[in-house]
Structure formats: structure tokens, C-alpha cells
């Protein structure tokens, strides 16, 4: 903890040495960019980039029947998750409001027969999520917060596998999308998953907190000279890929089906907190939905800007917006009234009192190298 009360990952000094511009994010001091957002973004799209994501949270859940416990907390049908598999989902309150979106990691069962899981959660919600899971704990389930002991580096881009394979004994060729394995990376014991937030192929590498600098240096100093990527490019990459971000498309006032997370919410399998609210919303007909918007002028949409129809009625607002380095124009996700959600609909984004033309386009805005299966 620093004098400002903000947290630092083990790579804070490394980021400064690398020329990172440090900003506050979710209570952490993180690099928003090093060489420039556009350059970093394009490096991930065309080649490979290295991210420090150690601010994210990891919650360990262990128990003979841990799968039932988790299934009752998350909206997806976790009973289907296999050992070695990852599943994207969210946790809701009884009224359906989203507490967080997260990935459930199911490791191979332990020797004593216990099931072993991680919940990998947003940095901004880590404390809240841990408290929620603990408050709903059942006997026979042990819940531990590993966040401050676990560092996370991501290697993302079409060349991610080529770049990373020489460093690890794990066979990356057989590690399929949304699966995990254990192996050494640069001699450091790690959990490796083929997951990411960029729309490109890539890996997320979890190691002990105090091994982060060693791993970063090993990956950076190899001949390929992988570029360090900051949170600014992380945001432009995920937005081009159409991925939601908590605090933008998702929050406690939003139900999964309104936030385009209906696909990770199962309404007719096991019960979970919030399921009745989700069923009700679906039955009554959803009233708002997330859409993608492609700007038709050079103006750039930003979070909070109103969205209007061509008659000047407000029909929604921008949840995330940016300049897309790959497309060289503004793109956005917006929450709009369902009457106006069809692909191809022409709308206006209000940018500082001017009505700028936009067209609804189904995300992703950019199709990258991410594996689909």
C-alpha cells in the first residue's frame, strides 16, 4: 500500500523503467500506455504483446461438492464444466443485478477427492466478490482470497503461441480455447489458460506474486522483443472485440440479458441467485439491450453520451466508446431501447451538442485470431 492508498503490482518499478505512464485504475497504480496506445494496440493485432494484469482477483474454492456451491452463485450452467476447463459467467443479486462478470476455472480434482476451482474476477470488484462468496459459503467448502499472492501476465496476439512455446514445457498446441493447464514458464511454476480479452489468440499466465518480475524480464528480454501493452490498449482491443467491461456495459443496475450476457445465463437448468429475476425479465420482454455502434463521421463516442433517433428522441446512451486503431474511426457499445436495436439502424450520438451519425453493427468490430473452439 502506498502513501496514496493505492495498490501496486509487483511490476510497478518495472513499468516505470519501461516508460509506462502510471494512472489510477480500480484502486491500483497501473500503466495506461508505454510507447503509445495505437502502436501497442496494433502490435497485439499483428504480432504479440505482454500485459501485467496482476491487479485482477483470484478466489479459490475447494470442497467435495464445490461445483454445486458455485453453480448456485453464477448464472451459467456450471454443472457442465469439465476438469481443466474455464467458463465465462456472472454472479447476480436476487434482483438480477450483476455483481461481477468472471471466469470460473475448474482444475483437476485433488488427490483427496476435493474439487478445486478459481473464480477470476475484476480488480474493481475483488473485495466485494470475495465477501459475497464468503457470505454464501456452505459447510464443506473452503474459500480463500488468493489475489495478493497471485500475479497474472498475459501474452496476446496471433503469434502468442509461437512466442510463448519456447519458454514452457506445457504443450500449447493441445491447450484449447477456454482450457487451463499447469506448467513451468521460464522455469517458474504457473497456471496457463488459453483465455484473453483482446479478440486475438493468447494465454493468461498465473504465477506467485514474487515471481512476476522474473517472468516479465524473461519474456521481455527474449529475441522477439515482445512489446509491453498498457490498459489503454487493453480497452481499445476489448472494445473492438465487442467485450463488455464492468462499470460500463455491466453493473448492479443491469440484468445479464440486458447486458448481452444472456448467452452465459442459463434459465432452465439449476437454480442460482437471481434466476427468478432473469426469468421474469425474459418473460416480460427485455426493454433495453447493448448494441454496437459504428460512427459514420470522424467524431468519437464516449461513455455517457446520449444516443438519439433521427427525430431527436433519446433512445439510449453510450456505455463504452473510443477511437478504434484498427478501423480508424469511432466505435461504441451503447444501451438502447429494444425498439431501436436492429442491425443497420441509423442513430445519432450526441457529441458535445452535435448530432453525429452512427449505424448499429453487431460486434465484434474486428475479427481477430481468437480461437473459437
Amino acid at each position: 500500500m502506498t502513501a496514496t492508498g493505492l495498490l501496486r503490482t509487483p511490476l510497478y518499478e518495472v513499468h516505470k523503467r519501461e516508460g509506462g505512464k502510471i494512472v489510477e485504475f480500480a484502486g491500483w497504480e497501473m500503466p495506461v500506455e508505454y510507447s503509445g496506445i495505437k502502436q501497442e494496440h496494433l502490435a497485439v493485432r499483428k504480432d504479440v504483446g505482454l500485459f501485467d494484469l496482476s491487479h485482477m482477483g483470484e478466489i479459490e474454492i475447494v470442497g467435495k461438492e464445490a461445483i454445486y456451491f458455485i453453480d448456485g452463485l453464477v448464472t451459467n450452467d456450471i454443472m457442465r464444466i469439465q476438469q481443466g476447463q474455464c467458463m465465462y459467467t456472472c454472479m447476480c443479486r436476487p434482483n438480477g443485478g450483476i455483481i461481477d462478470d468472471l471466469i470460473v476455472y475448474r482444475f483437476p480434482d485433488l488427490e483427496n477427492g476435493n474439487q478445486y476451482f478459481w473464480l477470476v474476477v475484476n480488480a474493481s470488484n475483488c473485495a466485494k466478490d470475495f465477501q459475497w462468496v464468503k457470505d454464501h459459503g456452505t459447510p464443506g467448502v473452503t474459500i480463500t482470497d488468493l489475489s495478493m499472492k497471485t500475479a497474472l501476465l498475459a501474452v496476446q496476439g496471433p503469434n502468442a503461441q509461437n512466442y510463448l512455446q519456447p519458454f514452457t514445457d506445457a504443450d500449447l498446441e493441445v491447450l484449447s480455447y477456454y482450457h487451463l493447464t499447469r506448467g513451468d514458464v521460464a522455469g517458474i511454476p504457473a497456471v496457463i489458460s488459453r483465455t484473453g480479452y483482446t479478440g486475438e489468440d493468447g494465454f493468461e499466465i498465473y504465477i506467485d506474486w514474487d515471481k512476476a518480475e522474473e517472468l516479465w524480464n524473461a519474456l521481455r528480454q527474449a529475441e522477439g522483443h515482445i512489446l509491453p501493452i498498457g490498459l489503454g490498449a487493453r480497452d481499445t482491443l476489448r472494445l473492438e472485440a465487442g467485450y463488455s467491461l464492468y462499470g460500463h456495459e455491466i453493473d448492479e443496475d443491469t440484468l445479464p440479458v440486458n447486458a448481452s450476457l444472456g448467452w452465459v445465463s442459463s434459465l432452465n437448468t439449476g437454480d442460482y441467485i437471481g434466476r427468478d429475476a432473469l426469468i421474469k425479465e425474459k418473460t416480460e420482454g427485455i426493454k433495453t439491450a447493448i448494441v454496437g455502434l459504428m460512427m459514420q463521421s470522424r467524431a468519437i463516442p464516449r461513455q455517457g453520451y446520449p444516443v438519439e433517433d433521427n427525430e431527436g428522441h433519446v433512445v439510449g446512451k453510450i456505455t463504452s466508446g473510443t477511437f478504434s486503431p484498427s478501423l480508424e474511426r469511432g466505435i461504441a457499445l451503447a444501451m438502447v431501447d429494444t425498439a431501436h436495436r436492429s442491425t443497420g439502424t441509423e442513430l445519432k450520438v450526441v457529441v458535445r451538442n452535435r448530432r453525429e451519425p452512427a449505424v448499429i453493427q453487431r460486434p465484434p468490430f474486428w475479427r481477430g485470431s481468437v480461437r473459437r473452439g
Binding site: 496506445i37 470522424r298 468519437i300 464516449r302 458535445r352
Partner: protein, 131 residues
Amino acid sequence: MIPNELKYTNDHEWVRVNGDVAEIGITHFAQDQLGDIVFVEIPAVGTMLEAGVALGVVESVKTVSDILAPVSGEVLEVNPKLQEDGDDFHPELVNSDPYGEGWMLRLRLSDSAELDKLLDAEAYKAITEEA
């Protein structure tokens, strides 16, 4: 990167004075803070600007930042390379050449006494060091 012959504001705008015409832009420090510039919104020729009031914005990938008028006057010329509906749109000039090709607008000074309120290169340098 703080040319001696220019004048500056606390908000990282610069002014180049040529008789009663002032040329205006944002400083190297500002463009460095903002990152890759992708859009600039400046008022049309003929607009009357008031010192200290926002005249437009400069946008980077990540954010939007107001540009405040360092001095008052009527806009005479705007940089065609920063016009969003121009054929030759190059907002990145603000990054690569903030005091040259990245100039934003030229105006006719309505009160040259306002120039005395601006910072000289040394005073501006001190501000960038505190930031």
C-alpha cells in the same frame, strides 16, 4: 521542448505573436500527456473567442480535453489538416509537430494587453516540472 519565442498558459496552450495576429496550439507537454491525438474540434473562421473560455477540444484515443483560448479575438484561419471533413486530415501532426504543422488556429488579437498575462518559456517550464 519549450521554444523561447512563444508564450504559454497554465493549461498548456502556446501563442505565437505576429503583429496583431496570434497563432495558437497545444504544447509538447500536453500532447505527450494526451497520447495519440485522433480528433480536434476548433471553431470556424469568424468566431469571436474569449480568453480563458473553452474554444474547442482535442481528443486522444483515451480521452477528451478542453482547449482554452489563451487570448481574445476573431478567428482568421484554422489548420486545414485538422479539419474533420477535410481530405487531408492529420490530427497526429499535433503529436509530431505541436509548435509547427500542428498549429490549430490564427486569430486577430482584440486586446494585446492580454499577452502580458501569459507565461514566458521559463515560467511555463516551471509549471511542467511541477505537474
